[in-house]
């Protein structure tokens, strides 16, 4: 390790790092703007200047030395720097003064104020007075959609936004325009930012140019936000989040760093979709339906009494859990109903796919990658997934993994990977191979080497063909399988991604077959192959682990509905999962329907007893992400109204019933323990986060920053007598500003703040090294960790994988195969209740290719009726869709009667009226919208 001298002090630093990284890693405060740990250095802002000296004599003689940029200077053994010397600090002070030349004096009305990197750096460098007497440049702002607010005057031209948006996230509609001091960052014309990851601009921008629009209009400073470590519940990736609450409302969601999962970035569904917790559709009180069909509010004791009564005696109980509820709540529900009467809440197709994903991952000889592993992959094959819409954060990771080719080229020239501009210049358009086989065009097509648009069964056949090529069983002329196979074989860390989106088991099996073939054929010096299987919901894999294969699906329960007296539904909208006919049959034949949910869903609206559940922001729970990582979320604020965590309702019921298994369960941690004891596969969930006994140096961890304001006035309008702070007996976090937020396990990090570093850039104070794991360790516990014991499993790997490819897809006359079109905004249930996404949700549509369209005599915007009154949808013509297939927007109202993989007849709807679209200023996106 090189030893460098900074201000007469010797430090040993990491080989290959740049000086800025090294300084920050050592805990030294060196101001910077344009450098970002995930985006490298370009030396644009000149802020991290230090003085370098030739040698010791040079330094001692008081020579002038030379000014170098910390972010562009690689640490070398024996180098001598001055960080705090007069010349260096004077230089940095003048730089920040020139960056601030046109700054508009609007911090009080800026949503970045109080967590602004520019404020921090200005204070750190000691700049105060503007000496230049000329006028300030001003700019006009642009409308960038309902999510991002633009205030161009505040810009300091660090170029982080375009580097993130274009280079990192692959966006095309944000650019630097004009020249010299007229530089402008925006779109070529006003319109919604196209990228699904645009929300990260809020955190990437070191000042207030890009801010969260919903926060700007209902603002609270960072120091006033109460927050707790949470996990995103809008897809199965399990990104770590930091929701901030004030006055009982969720104000915003920021990224919570987890080096193995989301790193520094979130997708827009996770960042902006979590506002569903403020929805008008939230229910606050238990309701009991009277004989006139109206709900009457009852108090929680009565509600509990009703719940207990319905579960007592000879009543036949059945229960439906949910893949969007926590493992703990589902476990208690399963205990209450008994294993035979508990459905994990999937429909039959979802259930078999979730179970298949679990067993394939368990038995695969390949590694199950984390997102960080995905970013390391150097050849990727995606089967049947539009990842940007089904597991968005993985798509962002894939945009980084195709750059591994560039890093390999850079390494040959001994160029460090953080030399961002140099590495990009070197590689130009050379990318690591990425192959996409999907039913429609996908948002990753632009970086793919080959895109194949095939019917689901044909995707699986291609997958099997590739597997055969890899294991050498087929002749080499079979294209494109051969090309793909060769690319995967020559890679060091090949990655195969498939998932349940298409509703097709063969695709996942084919993916597993490729991964296994690669694992068995791998050459000595290469890493293992990786297999990533995506699932639709936050806890889908957890539900597959909790329930056995033969657990009843929703359809199976509907079959025997006549035998059920009491049906308890936990946080599940059945109408989204199965055709209305099936659900109606189920719900109408049961005597008592009890629904426990946070939102007023159609299922809840048919219940006899409705119980208000706490949302993810008000309760604790563990969920298992698609890589098998058990992660705990914690309540950000106390429950409003009579809401209670689902587990609390169910535990109270079990206690009242005197259930033997509940005898030793008194609190949340006990449920986690009981669940891990009962379910061997979920044994690790207790390690997802420390239990409520954890104390950080003897004290709890505060949810409120030290400067939390208004404590004695917030509730003064209700009563001037301040209540005691709510005590949190269930977790190691406290609803106060007292405690210690430092060095605790990563799963308990409620906010990032460090003296002098008020912005989210203070994160490096919490990391072991810049871009490395948190000092307290990475959050979450992997339940499927097969990285160590691969060798044992290679033998039985082949057993789980079906080796026969399905028959080729045949388009049949008059019948179309239903395939999915996922949408980042809308396909997920919870985020579709979020107010700030409402403008971006579009109506359900069906996509067919032009040959089919002319056959059906429809054009863009016409209506098509599907099957016998299954649905009536707007037509979109998309020629990437194979003939005989029809892609419908999954998860969007109007399509719930449809099942993936079903064949339906299509007919032009005669009385179709085009639904009125919200007037969103059009962005010039592709045909997929």
């Amino acid at each position: 390790m090189p030893v460098i001298t900074i201000d007469n002090q010797e430090y040993s630093v990491k080989e290959g790092d740049n000086l800025l990284q090294a300084c920050l890693g050592l805990g030294l405060d060196l101001p910077y703007f344009c450098w970002h740990p995930d985006m490298g250095s370009i030396g644009a802002c000149r802020q991290c200047a230090v003085v370098q000296y030739q040698n010791t004599e040079d330094y001692r003689a008081g020579s002038r030395g030379r000014i170098v940029m910390g972010c562009m200077t690689q640490v070398t053994d024996g180098a001598i720097f001055s960080l705090n010397g007069d010349k260096a600090s004077e230089f940095r002070k003048t730089i920040v003064e020139s960056l601030m030349l046109n700054h508009p004096h609007d911090c009080p009305v800026c949503a970045e104020g109080g967590e602004c990197h520019l404020q921090d750096m200005t204070v750190m460098t000691g700049h105060r007075d503007r000496h230049y007497r000329g006028k300030k440049n001003t700019h006009r702002n642009q409308y960038l959609g309902p999510l991002i607010h633009h205030e161009m005057n505040r810009c300091i031209t660090c170029y982080r936004c375009t580097r993130y948006y274009n280079n990192y996230a692959g966006g095309k509609d944000l650019a630097a325009m004009a020249a010299h001091d007229h530089v402008y960052f925006g779109r070529h014309q006003e319109g919604v930012l196209e990228s699904e990851f645009a929300g990260n601009l809020v955190e990437v921008c070191p000042t207030g140019v890009f801010t969260d629009k919903s926060l700007v209009n209902d603002y609270s400073r960072k120091w006033d936000l109460q927050s707790a470590p949470s996990v995103c519940t809008h897809c199965a990736v399990g990104c770590n989040t930091l929701p901030g609450e004030r006055y009982g409302k969720l104000k915003r969601v920021h990224n919570r760093y987890n080096d193995e999962v989301n790193g520094y970035f979130l997708c827009d569904r996770g960042r902006f979709g979590a506002k569903f917790v403020n929805s008008d559709k939230r229910i606050n009180n238990p309701g009991l339906r009277d004989e006139h069909g109206r709900y009457n509010i009852i108090d929680p004791h009565q509600a509990l009494h009703q719940l207990v009564e319905a579960c007592q005696g000879d009543n036949n109980i059945a229960a439906i859990g949910s893949p969007r509820a926590s493992v703990e709540a589902n476990f208690l529900l399963k205990t209450l109903a008994g294993e035979q009467h508990y459905s994990p809440g999937f429909n039959a197709q979802e259930q078999s796919l979730a179970q298949l994903a679990l067993s394939l991952q368990q038995h695969s000889a390949a590694t199950i990658p984390s997102i960080k592993d995905i970013e390391c992959a150097d050849a990727i094959f995606i089967l049947g997934e539009d990842l940007t819409h089904s597991a968005p954060r993985i798509a962002l990771a894939l945009r980084q993994s195709v750059r591994n080719k560039a890093y390999a080229l850079a390494a040959e020239l001994k160029l460090q990977p953080w030399q961002d501009a140099a590495v990009r210049n070197l590689a130009q358009d050379q990318r690591s191979p990425l192959f996409v086989a999907a039913v429609t065009d996908t948002r990753l097509d632009d970086i793919a080497e080959q895109c194949h648009h095939l019917a689901p069964d044909d995707i699986a056949r291609l997958g099997y063909a590739v597997a055969e090529q890899i294991s050498g069983k087929a002749n080499a002329s079979d294209e494109p399988a051969n090309t793909i196979a060769q690319a995967l074989l020559s890679a060091q860390r090949p990655l195969i991604i498939a998932g349940s989106s298409c509703g097709n088991a063969a695709i996942m099996q084919a993916a597993a077959a490729i991964a296994d073939a690669l694992a068995l054929r791998k050459n000595e010096n290469a890493g293992n192959s990786m297999l990533c299987l995506t699932l639709p919901e936050a806890n889908s894999l957890g539900q597959a682990m909790l329930s056995p294969n033969e657990a009843p699906s929703i359809e199976a329960l509907a079959e025997r509905a006549y035998k059920i007296d009491t049906l308890i539904v936990l946080e599940n909208d059945l109408f989204r999962r199965a055709p209305a006919a099936v659900v109606d049959k189920l719900l109408q034949s049961v005597t008592t329907l009890i629904v426990l949910d946070s939102l007023e869903t159609p299922t809840l609206a048919t219940s006899q007893l409705a119980l208000p559940a706490a949302s993810v922001a008000e309760s604790e729970g563990t969920i298992v992400s698609l890589e098998g990582r058990a992660q705990r979320y914690f309540p950000v604020s106390e429950c409003q109204g009579e809401r209670r965590a689902s587990w609390a309702w169910l535990l109270a019921c079990l206690k009242e019933l005197g259930h033997p298994e509940a005898a030793n369960i008194h609190r949340f941690d006990d449920i986690t323990l009981a669940c891990s004891a009962a379910q061997p596969m979920l044994k690790g969930i207790t390690l997802a986060a420390p239990d409520h006994f954890y104390r950080n140096a003897g004290v709890k961890i505060p949810r409120q920053p030290q400067r939390y304001s208004g404590r004695t006035a917030m509730r003064a309008n209700v009563s001037v007598h301040e209540p005691k702070q709510t005590e949190d007996d269930e977790t190691a976090l406290a609803y106060t500003m007292e405690g210690l937020n430092r060095h605790q396990p990563g799963s308990l990090l409620p906010f990032v703040w460090s003296p002098g570093w008020n912005s989210n850039q203070s994160l490096h104070k919490f990391q072991t090294e810049t871009g490395g794991p948190l000092k307290g360790g990475t959050a979450g516990k992997r339940l499927l960790d097969n990285r160590q014991n691969n060798n044992n499993q290679q033998k039985n790997s082949q057993q789980a994988v079906a080796t026969t490819a399905p028959a080729a897809f045949q388009a049949s006359a008059g019948q179309w195969l239903l395939v999915p079109r996922q949408r980042i905004f809308g396909s997920d249930e919870l985020s579709s209740y979020s107010d700030n996404l409402a403008e971006l949700l579009s109506d359900a549509s069906i996509e067919i290719n032009s040959a089919d369209a002319s056959l059906l005599q429809v054009k863009n915007g016409d209506g098509l009726s599907l099957g016998e009154n299954l649905a009536c949808l707007r037509v979109v013509i998309n020629n990437t869709i194979p003939q005989g297939c029809a892609a419908y927007s999954v998860g969007i109202a109007g399509t719930f009667n449809l099942t993936l993989g079903q064949r339906v007849s299509l007919q032009k709807a005669s009385d179709w009226q085009r639904p009125k679209q919200a007037d969103v200023i059009a962005s010039d996106g592709g045909a997929h919208v």
Binding site: H103, P104, H105, D106, C107, P108, V109, C110, G113, G114, K135, K136, N137, T138, H139, R140, N141, E151, N153, R154, M177, A178, H180, H182, Y184, V216, N217, D218, Y219, S220, R221, W223, D224, R246, Y247, R707, Y708, S709, G710, R711, T712, A713, M714, A716, N717, S719, V720, H721
Partner: protein, 175 residues
């Protein structure tokens, strides 16, 4: 003995002298003492010279308050101005330290020489925005935050604030 006698006499003499000095006690409330404008008494919210409310709900007073007795919520008006949707001071906690006034970037919150705010019921010490807002600029007559700051509001476009040039035409090729 002699020493203590002398001490007693000195004391009596000193007190006697006070009979001839001016009385410091004021017959409050009949007589009211003069309080300088900078006296730190009851807090008000002021308006700018144009008559619009000065407070931009930046939360700096709340965070400066050592007893945390100020709570407010920001909102955005249709004309683009930030304003407090509610603004509450719990005077039963307030220690009249004036830190909020020091912190205020718009001169909105000001302490006045009025200190007569006793109540029989503590709840009446909670002042909402309608109790705090006055119709006038208070001690600072001229300052208008939005004339200085770069944020565009209705009636003051980009480039019209203090020391600002006209907005840049990005499409222009001129230097």
């Amino acid at each position: 003995m002699l020493k203590s006698l002398r001490s007693q006499l000195t004391t009596i003499w000193t007190i006697l002298q006070h009979s001839f000095s001016r009385c410091e006690t004021v017959q409050y409330p009949e007589q009211k003492p003069y309080l300088a404008p900078r006296y730190r008494g009851r807090i008000v919210l002021t308006t700018d010279p144009d008559g619009d409310e000065r407070c931009v709900a930046c939360n700096l007073c709340a965070v400066a308050c050592p007893v945390d007795c100020i709570a407010l919520q920001q909102g955005t008006r249709e004309d683009g101005r930030w304003y407090p949707e509610f603004f509450r001071i719990n005077f039963s906690r307030c220690i009249m330290c004036g830190m909020c006034e020091e912190a205020c970037p718009t001169n909105a919150i000001q302490l006045t020489p009025d200190f007569e705010m006793c109540e029989y019921d503590r709840q009446n010490m909670v002042y909402e925005k309608e109790h705090l807002q006055i119709d006038g600029p208070g001690k600072y007559h001229d300052y208008n935050f939005y004339r200085v700051s770069g944020l565009a509001i209705k009636g003051k476009d980009k480039g019209e604030a203090q020391n600002e040039a006209q907005p840049i035409d990005v499409k222009s090729l001129l230097p």
